[in-house]
């Protein structure tokens, strides 16, 4: 037992012969440790949850914007003044930014291989998403209350 575990964790040449070349599977030892990032399927799962939420939210948003085509400031204030709009837009913005951050992170991880650049970009995108989502929500509240 000890021998199998140690082979699995080190992933050396001895264990390689047990796996097919370019297997989609990582060793059981790494899977039990929730993978190298130690978050298991968390990223994957939240990406799908936000995707699911964005089906109705995105359709509602695009339908609203199409309905508002060419609207002036008064019409926009009327739309943003409705409690339903405020709630639905806050949900849309939070889900969309969360979904975008997760998606962009995967693209960066796939195509950028220098650790420093990769980490810097991911951190910048996460900070930017929080700041932009907060800005959008504050703007919504300003219109709603004002």
């Amino acid at each position: 037992m000890d021998e199998i575990v140690s082979k699995g964790t080190t992933g050396g040449p001895a264990s390689e012969s047990n796996f097919a070349h370019r297997s989609m599977r990582s060793s059981i030892a790494r899977a039990r440790g929730l993978g190298s990032a130690k978050e298991g399927v968390g990223h994957w799962w939240v990406q799908r949850l936000t995707a699911l939420a964005l089906i109705p939210l995105g359709l509602w948003f695009v339908a609203s914007v199409v309905h508002l085509a060419g609207a002036d400031h008064a019409a926009i204030k009327l739309w943003l003044g409705a409690p339903f709009t405020l709630g639905a837009l806050v949900l849309t913005i939070v889900a969309a930014f969360y979904h975008a951050v997760l998606g962009l992170q995967v693209v960066i991880e796939d195509y950028i291989h220098q650790t420093a650049v990769k980490l810097t970009l991911i951190i910048l995108i996460q900070f930017a998403a929080f700041a932009l989502a907060a800005t959008a929500i504050v703007a919504l509240l300003v219109v709603f209350i004002g």
Binding site: T10, I55, V66, D72, A139
Partner: protein
């Protein structure tokens, strides 16, 4: 890591194009485009909160040729990413991953996105009383 080769992302310059790979890379490209669109949405909301003058200026840009081109692109990107996203979710649920179905749903996502985009813009222009 070194002793256990993992799958690589395709190198786009030398990877032979197929419908399945094109729909996949389009999903990523439209995702990046929509992230930029999110940035524009924040600008739009901030303009609405700033006042009538700022908002009308932004709406003026939206009505310009470049503005319309951007909004049309974002509409197309949204509907493609939505339809292809549903395709991805159905794969995750274990349905439609065989090649004939993947081709059928791939074409559906591409053509469906074009149709829904045109429909949205026709309704939009109708709303504005342009015809």
């Amino acid at each position: 890591m070194a002793g256990h080769p993992r799958p690589l992302s395709p190198h786009l310059q030398i990877y032979r194009r197929q419908l399945t790979s094109v729909t996949s890379i389009l999903h990523r490209l439209t995702g990046i485009g929509l992230s930029i669109g999110l940035l524009y949405l924040v600008c739009w909301l901030v303009a609405a909160a700033t006042g009538a003058e700022a908002f009308d200026r932004l709406q003026g840009f939206n009505g310009s040729f470049i503005g319309r081109l951007l909004l049309f692109g974002w509409t197309l990107a949204f509907f493609y990413h939505l339809l292809n996203g549903i395709r991805h979710l159905s794969w995750d649920a274990g349905w439609g991953f065989d090649l004939p179905t993947a081709y059928k749903t791939g074409w559906t996502a591409l053509i469906g996105a074009a149709v829904l985009t045109l429909l949205a813009w026709i309704i939009g222009y109708y709303q504005m009383g342009s015809f």
